[in-house]
Amino acid sequence: MRDGGRVQKRTLRRADRRRRFLRDRSLLLMVIPAVVLLLIFNYAPMFGTATAFQNYSIYAGFMHSPWSGLETFRSMFADPLFWQSLENTLVLSLVQLLLFFPIPIALALLLNSVMNNRVRTIVQSVVYLPHFFSWVLAVTIFQEMLGGAGALNQALRQHGYATWDIMTNPDAFKFLVTAQVVWKEAGWGIIVFLAALAAIDQNLYEASAVDGAGRWRRMWHITLPGIRSIVVLMLVLRLGNTLTVGFEQMLIQRGAVGRDASEVLDTYAYYYGVVNANFSLGAAASLFKGVLSLILILAANKIAHLVGEDGLYRK
């Protein structure tokens, strides 16, 4: 399969553009509706990015707001709070990458290994539900279970043990946030991997078992390679979103742990941009984030290619 692709590719490089265009015109036609929608609803509004270089006022509008060059960026980069928010973002993202990302995959593999259909159906039909809870509700549930007056701490207190302060501890906040993300999103996250597992050819397992491979070897040699390209794709997309860590989740818990632990890029842009009616700062922060994210996803994609995976597209 892979070799076929390469041969095909080499041939293509030699082909002239016009011939490729004619050959692929149906494919291009198929892409048009999506591209047109994106051009209208995503690209057209991007003129708003220009406000990052303006002293924007909604009353003067985009055409008449005075230009300010790089002034907004200069003051943003000079603000220690901005760098603090970037650092928090990166740390939280890294913790989530390590502690959250593998969990849906592991859960999907576990569910896939359950042979009993009813058990599998029951578990599958339940685990994804927290995805539909709002962050307000999710945090409320955590507070009622683990908060200072929550179920766990009341039990500890009544039995004379020391209480365990997790909901308002700034130092442990990154782990709290990750635990919340695991609880809320892991079940929903397995869906894509279940679909990938469903696409693996079952004959491969039988053949392998007949050849004497045990269950761990089958997982290593058939299951994991079978979902590897999807795992890598999800990882590349996740890395592209490194700078996005739970805006709402942070906003809700800012009061509980304080700014030092919970300020991320998005909340920084919110508090110093939106709240202060400083649209230009909001636009500058979002532009900065966009550029960095694009670099990250392209780098992640490059790495995927280096290790022989497709990532976003085949090399």
Binding site: S57, L81, G255, R259
Partner: protein
């Protein structure tokens, strides 16, 4: 449920409007009072002499009805709400004839609650029939209003009539926005207002808040004669059981001393909730939306710089670190504070004065039959209490600048009808709809029917609100009387803060100073950081612009006075 529940004031309760899925946050530092907003065009405020010419004349309602408990005149012109234990038996009519001429006006108001359907709504139909016009009410979700408003301005989609709360104004840079609306001066200033007697009966202090850049733009949603943030409440039933006499608590130290006695963490009971927003009168510092005060030497001080603010932080910080404040309160779960108070998990809890109603007692009694909410009498650390008042109107409606003069006159005639005082026939129609359909008189007071509770929402009232008395809710006459007595005592200590009702527009560059301070204040009041962290933050606040901001206000004082 009384649809006017929305109107009593507790300007501070800055919210974490815990909607599901979406939440609206307002940085507490930005809950502005009378629309102070950033702008590029000067301070936006207006001097005293100019004000005089602009303000509508005050003409007391000629057919005022005698209340069951009269309003108490307090200090500095503030007064407590009159109390009606029952709706006047034979309601008078205050507006002559049908005010409208058949015009159609799309009106947008924020609404914090289920939004009723428009078509087939007998309440809307009844009010519009009475108005003689088609006021198409399009309520918008109050929690997301701050996101919708800028799009309406930027996309030129403003309706004919729109209400904007003062706390949404800073994000709009409102002094720049207000030019989109009709200047009402030529219709209402001075004696012109006499053509609209119900508008003329709205106290001057409310109209004063409606002026920006030297012009009268707004129609006030009047809060009352003595509006302030709130006070500490206590559970009298729990106090009685513990043998504590609340009248003996007359200093912050004595209040704090209750912490140990009333906290029993094992049983899930803590002495205090988050008190910070409700103790400013004890320690004498201005709280949002007020920011400034003038000390004994005549120096202008921001509330951050006042010694009282530091003392208050210190006071709460000690309670927090000693474990006397409920852990959920320290986790910033302010939206559940009432439930904690009802269930007795917090014995002493701050809240707005509007929390003290019969509806509240039925909620509390549902959790605990002996529930009894009472407030401490006003006291202060130095024994000389002062309660700084908030602007008497915090929301305003505006007419679109594109309306013709005739349309503006028709809209103002409609506003005159909507501003009909309590006790009138119009008031019942505006607030309760049709007798026997939307409401029924029960024990002398109008109570919404099941149909009414689905159709009636606070909508027309949010375009303009007249003087509203205290009324009986949930059938609890005692709670009404208790509150009235407390308020009558409180107004004796009422004081105007500096720059009262002046709609000062601060230069935009100072907006960024607020958030770091508010963040640090939370760190300290929740016991995460020591008070010294606040003193550090204050130093950088001063250095990074606080001192300049003071100079800006010094300039305002020279040119326009301090609103006293």
């Amino acid at each position: 449920m009384n649809p006017l529940d929305g109107l009593r004031a507790d300007r501070r309760r800055f919210l974490e409007l815990a909607g599901l899925g979406a939440i609206a946050f307002a940085g507490s530092g930005l809950l502005a009072g009378c629309g102070d907003a950033k702008t590029t065009n000067g301070p936006g405020t207006t001097g005293k002499d100019q004000l005089k010419a602009l303000l509508p004349s005050y003409v007391e309602a000629s057919n005022a009805i005698k209340p069951d408990i009269a309003s108490v005149q307090g200090s500095n012109g503030f007064f407590s709400d009159a109390v009606f234990l029952a709706y006047p038996a034979s309601p008078v009519t205050t507006a002559t004839g049908i005010p409208g001429k058949g015009g159609t006006y799309v009106a947008t108001t924020p609404l914090w609650g289920a939004i009723p359907g428009t078509s087939g709504n007998s309440y809307y139909e009844a009010v519009n029939k009475a108005l003689g016009a088609n006021v198409k009410i399009q309520p918008s979700d109050g929690t997301n209003y701050e996101k919708v408003l800028p799009t309406l301005f930027a996309g030129d989609k403003l309706p004919d009539w729109i209400q904007i709360p003062s706390w949404n104004m800073p994000k709009l840079g409102f002094a720049d926005a207000v030019g989109k609306f009709a200047d009402l001066g030529p219709y209402l200033s001075g004696d012109l207002v006499k053509a609209y007697p119900n508008l003329a009966a709205i106290p001057t202090s409310a109209w004063q808040c409606c002026i920006w850049n030297g012009k009268l733009y707004g129609l006030p949603v009047y809060y009352g004669g003595a509006t302030f943030n709130g006070m500490p409440f206590y559970r009298k039933d729990i106090f009685d059981k513990a043998g504590i006499n609340a009248d003996e608590i007359d200093s912050p130290d004595k209040l704090a001393a209750l912490g140990k006695e009333l906290t029993n963490a094992n049983a899930g009971q803590w002495a205090f909730g988050d008190m910070y927003g409700y103790i400013n009168h004890m320690f004498k510092f201005p709280a949002d939306p007020n920011r400034w005060t003038i000390d004994a030497d005549g120096k202008i001080l921001h509330r951050y710089e006042t010694p009282g603010h530091l003392e208050a932080l210190n006071w709460q910080n000690k309670l927090a670190t000693a474990g006397y404040i409920h852990p959920d309160a320290l986790a910033d779960k302010s939206q559940d504070a009432k439930q904690r108070f009802w269930s007795g998990k917090e014995v002493i809890s701050g809240d707005g004065p509007g929390a003290w109603t019969g509806d509240d007692s039925s909620s509390g009694k549902a959790a605990n039959p002996t529930y009894n909410r009472q407030a401490f009498k006003i006291f202060a650390a130095d024994g000389k209490p002062e309660v700084l008042m908030n602007p008497s109107a915090g929301m305003y409606s505006f007419l679109n600048g594109k309306l013709s003069a005739d349309q503006i006159k028709e809209a103002l005639a409609i506003a005159n009808y909507l501003a009909a005082p309590y006790g009138s026939a119009e008031w019942l129609t505006i607030n309760f709809g049709v007798d026997g359909v939307d409401y029924k008189m029960t024990d002398g007071n109008p109570v919404l029917t099941e149909k009414g509770s689905k159709e009636v929402a606070t909508t027309y009232q949010f375009l303009i609100t007249p003087l509203t008395p205290t009324t009986v809710k949930g059938g609890d006459v005692q709670a009404t009387k208790d509150y009235a007595a407390w308020q009558g005592d409180m107004v004796k200590y009422a004081v105007k803060p500096a720059f009262y009702g002046m709609n000062v527009t601060e230069p935009a560059q100072y907006a960024k100073l607020v958030q770091p301070m508010e963040d640090t204040i939370k760190d300290v009041r929740y016991g995460r950081k020591p008070v010294s962290a606040y003193e550090e933050a204050l130093k950088s606040w001063k250095a990074q612009g606080g001192d300049q901001l003071r100079a800006f206000y010094e300039d305002i004082r020279q040119k326009y006075g301090t609103g006293q």
